[in-house]
């Protein structure tokens, strides 16, 4: 039994999601190899070798892998799977794009967004926007599993696995990369932040969102999130969206400002350790899951919160 973990990285650095997928992999087998696919990714591969419990790191480099083209990952990973019983991939937008393609080529089911590995064949995953948990047992010889990073602890550092460079197969001809627009941010990454401050439709405009939510987030060193309503209305960019169809977060502290708490949104944040809701509607569903609720208009509550934070810092 050996398992392959596909790393989440930006070539220069390895992302925490990789460590979390390694933790999930440890429940399946002790023989864990990590695949780092990208371009100029030696640093990420070296970092992967330092994760405790990693046997070997495979480094494959090509422009198409760096661009995250599913066809390139299929060509690389499917032949590799002759040596592995399972492949685990963090359920990022890349993981969700490539994993089902690999599963279909191997003619196996995919286990999507696993939140618990019970044993090598049994997994728990959320369904119906997180309103139910399904325990499934796989009968496939090989497993393709996407792992919800927020559900696992990060594996420790302290390993010393060697890095082996492997060839990246020829580029797929039917699809090509055109361009990429990545939003630059000084703030912590939404998926990995300890504190998240999210705004909802109550903000009323993009200017108001920036005026209210962003300074509060900066004061707390938090990442900024948004409800789907706020994103759809254009108050916040798409990649801020927390929910079933956006990102799933589980920070230590989640502050929901002017968010009513639709099922769809709760699916993305209800595993946060402490949830704070600020909403002027005392009957909003968000208060049913909030640990601390403040029934107040955000227009007054957020400035008060800001000054209370100043006061307590002194």
């Amino acid at each position: 039994m050996a398992v392959l973990v596909i790393a989440d990285h930006d070539n220069a650095a390895l992302k925490d999601n990789t460590h979390k997928a390694v933790t999930a992999a440890q429940k399946i087998s002790g023989d864990i190899d990590v695949l780092v696919a990208g371009q100029g990714a030696q640093a990420a591969a070296d970092a992967a070798g330092k994760i405790e419990g990693v046997r070997k790191v495979l480094l494959a480099e090509s422009a198409e892998l760096d661009q995250g083209l599913a066809e390139a990952f299929e060509a690389l990973v499917v032949p590799l799977m002759a040596n592995y019983d399972a492949v685990l991939i963090p359920s990022t937008s890349l993981g969700k794009n490539i994993a089902p393609r690999i599963a279909a080529k191997l003619d196996v089911a995919q286990i999507s967004d696993a939140v618990e590995v019970v044993d090598a064949n049994t997994f728990v995953r959320p369904i119906y926007a997180g309103n139910a948990l399904e325990t499934v047992q796989s009968s496939d010889a090989k497993k393709v599993i996407t792992v919800r990073p927020t559900a696992f602890k990060a594996a420790a550092e302290g390993g010393s696995a060697s890095v082996e460079t492997i060839a990246a197969p020829a580029a797929p001809a039917k699809v090509k990369f055109v361009e990429q627009q990545i939003v630059q941010s000084e703030r912590p990454e939404l998926g990995a932040a300890k504190i998240v401050v999210s705004g909802g439709r109550a903000m009323g405009s993009a200017e108001e969102f920036q005026r209210v939510i962003e300074p509060l987030a900066d004061k707390l060193g938090a990442a900024v999130g948004a409800s789907r309503a706020a994103v759809d209305a254009g108050y916040a960019p798409n990649d801020y969206q927390v929910g079933q169809t956006g990102k799933v977060v589980a920070p230590d502290l989640y502050i929901a400002v002017g968010i009513s708490g639709a099922i769809q949104h709760l699916a993305g944040m209800k595993d946060s350790k402490v949830i704070v809701a600020i909403n002027k509607d005392g009957d909003a569903p968000i208060f049913q899951i909030a640990d601390y609720g403040l029934v107040a208009d955000y227009k007054t509550a957020v400035p008060e919160l800001m000054s209370a934070l100043d006061g307590s810092a002194k």
């Binding site: 995250g68 083209l69 599913a70 066809e71 990022t92 937008s93 890349l94 969700k96 490539i98 089902p100 393609r101 089911a109 995919q110 959320p126 119906y128 309103n131 139910a132 948990l133 399904e134 325990t135 499934v136 047992q137 796989s138 009968s139 001809a173 039917k174 699809v175 990369f177 055109v178 990429q180 627009q181 990545i182 939003v183 998926g191 504190i195 707390l220 789907r228 994103v231 759809d232 798409n238 990649d239 169809t245 990102k247 502290l253 099922i263 350790k273 402490v274 949830i275 704070v276 208060f287 899951i289 909030a290 640990d291 601390y292 609720g293 403040l294 919160l305 209370a308 006061g311 307590s312």
Partner: protein, 250 residues
């Protein structure tokens, strides 16, 4: 150009699902069902492609129970030309099985584009489109927020973590749609009436000849852990004190 749009009948997105007491699944008896919201966006996009003169025919297809005919009628009322139901009454098919059934339909219909929702809100798998692309050996463009089709290729802007990515896929291709692609239209009453007369072909699952065996056995379906009851605080000052002293998260 022919566009195939797979649609799924799912629990209405406004309904809070209830887990059955015997842990065998979610209770769907007497629950309002609708078209999966992402599939509405896919149908809308297909209709817009037809309105622009890019698409010539739109075929909606569903794999599911007899009642999925209602979902197909909705697609027809939105502007699809005809519909196919692959009737699977006793079985809740896994994404791989659905992808195999769709592959067989693609072989019959020869569309140049298959347009799907990025995920269904019941299984939350986000897999059928990618699996279908793999089985057909077609290129895939997932999580589309903008689609331009010209000169035998689809230029698709995709929503990825951290921003947007644009790729160009040679047709035929599989495209899955994200929320921001468009705002689906409501079917007007005259169109709902007209949709009743549009062709809807019902096939039995067995006649399609796809391997639909289950690979996953559902051992149980449970409710997620409930959160402990929270408290309401009076002022922002109290809130900060509690977060510092009681919760220890500041």
């Amino acid at each position: 150009m022919k566009v195939l749009v797979p649609v799924k009948r799912v629990i209405d997105y406004n309904v809070k699902p209830r887990v059955k007491a015997d842990q065998t699944g979610v209770d769907l008896a007497n629950v309002k069902m609708s078209m999966n919201p992402f599939d509405e966006i896919a149908v809308e996009e297909a209709v817009r492609l037809k309105e622009k003169g890019v698409a010539t025919e739109i075929v909606a297809v569903s794999v599911g129970p007899t009642q999925a005919q209602e979902t197909l009628r909705t697609a027809l009322a939105m502007g699809a030309d005809r519909a196919i139901l692959v009737q699977a009454n006793d079985q809740d098919l896994e994404p791989l099985a659905v992808a195999k059934v769709l592959k067989a339909i693609v072989a019959e219909e020869s569309p140049e584009v298959v347009l799907l929702g990025k995920q269904a809100i019941d299984g939350d798998n986000n897999a059928v489109g990618q699996m279908l692309a793999a089985l057909l050996e077609w290129p895939q463009a997932t999580f589309a927020s903008k689609i331009e089709i010209a000169g035998g290729a689809a230029k698709v802007t995709r929503e990825v973590d951290g921003g947007l990515q644009t790729i160009e896929a040679t047709l035929p291709a599989v495209i899955t749609v994200d929320l921001r692609l468009n705002e689906p239209r409501y079917a007007s009453l005259p169109n709902i009436m007209k949709a009743k007369k549009k062709p809807l072909d019902v096939k039995e699952l067995a006649s399609v000849g796809a391997d639909v065996a289950s690979r996953l056995k559902v051992l149980k379906v449970t409710e997620p852990a409930k959160r402990g009851g929270g408290i309401k605080v009076e002022t922002a000052q109290d809130l900060v004190m509690k977060l510092k002293n009681e919760a220890g998260v500041l």
